[in-house]
């Protein structure tokens, strides 16, 4: 058994898949370089990313899979689950080995797995579309901090671009330390360097935020409190829809 390491990008993964077929190998595990802990007698090789090869694999998949299935596969990559590559390779092999469309072939464990994992990732995507809270900075950028369970920023960029086409916005993934920034033209990936003493959560003091920001947060919190019907309180239901790990990013829950 050999382990091939790739640079962590989706292209890197696909070009490793290309090499699997090129070298007719079946005894290889593909892993992300940065996450991999090397075993004592493990045979490890780094596979460089060749975009042309990655494109060939993707083009091959495009011929066999619908857009939705391609997205599901991409979701598995974004899930960043340890060892998820094995399932993705299994899925890709199964797709290429069959003439007909196999995406509803849930008897196959890889097909089933891809469908299950992608559902989790897409649920997180939907949650992020709901739970992003922008705060207006004094530089006129709508800024939001998140730390989604899965790496869903690439999936939500389009939604926010369509919706907030006329405002500068930035959604920053605190855990993965990158963000997507929209500059009224297109969305780009950025990295921020925070000062050591910088507190990313909202404080009315400090001169980072626009003057009206405090007012609208207060109004939103007021609104949120008033629409609650006290005689029908049901905190369990609230928690079920809005798990506690998201609260620190939600204006209305932080105030609580």
């Amino acid at each position: 058994m050999t382990t091939w390491l790739y640079d962590g990008s989706f292209d890197g993964f696909l070009s490793a898949v290309f090499d699997l077929y090129w070298q007719k190998r079946t005894d290889v595990m593909i892993r992300k370089e940065q996450d991999h802990v090397r075993g004592l007698f493990e045979n490890v090789i780094f596979t460089p990313t060749v975009v042309a090869n990655a494109d060939r694999v993707w083009a091959g998949l495009t011929k066999k899979l619908s857009e939705a299935s391609l997205q599901q596969l991409f979701c598995c990559y974004l899930s960043e689950l340890p060892g998820e590559e094995d399932n993705m390779v299994g899925f890709i092999r199964y797709v290429f080995a069959n003439e007909q469309d196999v995406t509803s072939d849930f008897g196959n464990r890889y097909v089933l797995h891809v469908s299950q994992v992608s559902r989790k990732v897409l649920r997180e995507k939907h949650r992020m579309e709901a739970f992003v809270r922008f705060q207006l900075t004094k530089d006129n950028i709508y800024y939001s901090l998140v730390s989604p369970d899965y790496n869903v920023l690439p999936l939500i960029a389009r939604h926010f671009k369509d919706r907030y086409a006329d405002q500068y916005w930035l959604i920053y993934d605190e855990r993965r330390r990158f963000g997507i920034y929209y500059n009224l033209g297109h969305v780009e990936t950025i990295r921020l360097h925070f000062n050591a003493d910088y507190d990313p959560y909202y404080h009315s003091t400090g001169n980072v935020w626009a003057p009206e920001e405090e007012l609208y947060q207060r109004l939103w919190n007021t609104y949120f409190k008033e629409v609650d019907i006290a005689s029908r309180r049901n905190p369990r239901l609230q928690l079920q829809h809005m798990p506690r790990r998201y609260w620190k990013y939600l204006t209305e829950m932080r105030a609580g």
């Binding site: 922008f134 369509d162 629409v227 006290a230 609230q238």
Partner: protein
């Protein structure tokens, strides 16, 4: 507390018993690089209150001043509560600023009837018009259609709103007579019928003409209060199915009556809310 905050508190509180949170089913794409997108797809619930209900729209009354005295309503004329009213600009600012911060999917605007139905409806329409034309807002707008307002206003409302709804208030006419004697079923049906015929007319035009304006793209809905006037389940189901069939409503919403007054015509305070 600032005045705007106080107003918001009063007018959000007064609107909270209104159901209908749907923000999906419309088709208003952001083609103009403006703000907002109500493209078909899933609706989004942005938050959940402590009672477990979702918050997806900014749901407020324009004013809770009302000339009617419906027994089941917190905003009834005889109720001794704080009254407030937003200006058109205030509602527009709130909507835009909440929307830009990704708090909401759009606006749900209802109102108590001040002066007369036309006057009230005209204000509601002005809010929607301002959002659409001046702010280039493509988010979701749900307006209450006020029974008794003129057809011209209804027509205009339909051009700017994604959904319009006329509240039927109570499932039966007898209940209406008992609890809201100033309102009548035929007066409520009139705007529903008008809107339905307009929707159909414009749909027909769309088949032959290229450019027909969007008209209430998410259709009509209505709401009834359940458990206030002692109606049976069968009566409710009959009424709902009749309205679904006859007027092609997208939805009939049911609002469980939460006891709010000591009126002897109504269930007593603290009685169970029907689920």
């Amino acid at each position: 507390m600032e005045r705007i905050q106080e107003k918001l508190a009063i007018l959000a509180d007064a609107a909270k018993y209104d159901v209908s949170c749907a923000s999906s089913g419309s088709d208003r794409k952001n083609d103009t690089k403006g703000l907002g997108n109500a493209h078909p797809g899933m609706g989004i619930c942005h938050s959940y209150t402590a009672d477990g209900r979702c918050v997806s729209l900014l749901k407020i009354l324009l004013t809770n001043v009302c000339i009617y005295d419906c027994a089941y309503c917190v905003s009834r004329k005889s109720n001794d509560i704080k009254r407030a009213a937003f200006t058109v600009q205030e509602v527009v600012d709130l909507t835009i600023n909440f929307y830009r911060r990704n708090y909401i999917e759009g606006l749900f605007l209802s109102s108590g009837i001040f002066k007369d139905p036309d006057y009230t409806m005209e204000r509601l329409v002005r809010v929607a018009k301002k959002l659409r034309t001046e702010c280039n807002f493509n988010g979701y707008i749900h307006l209450k259609a006020i029974p008794g307002a003129s057809d011209e206003l209804m027509q205009e409302a339909g051009l700017y709103a994604d959904r319009l709804s006329v509240n039927l208030e109570l499932p039966t006419e007898a209940g209406l007579k008992l609890l809201a004697p100033e309102k009548s079923r035929p007066a409520m049906i009139k705007p529903i019928r008008f809107l339905q015929s307009e929707i159909i007319r414009l749909e027909d035009e769309r088949k032959v003409l290229k450019k027909v304006p969007k008209f209430v793209p998410a259709g009509q809905s209505t709401q009834v209060i359940v458990g206030a006037s002692g109606e049976t389940d069968m009566e409710i189901m009959h009424m709902a199915s009749q309205f679904y069939r006859q007027f092609q409503l997208k939805r009939v919403y049911y609002s469980g009556y939460v006891p709010i007054s000591n009126d002897t015509r109504l269930p007593a305070l603290h009685s169970q809310v029907p689920l």
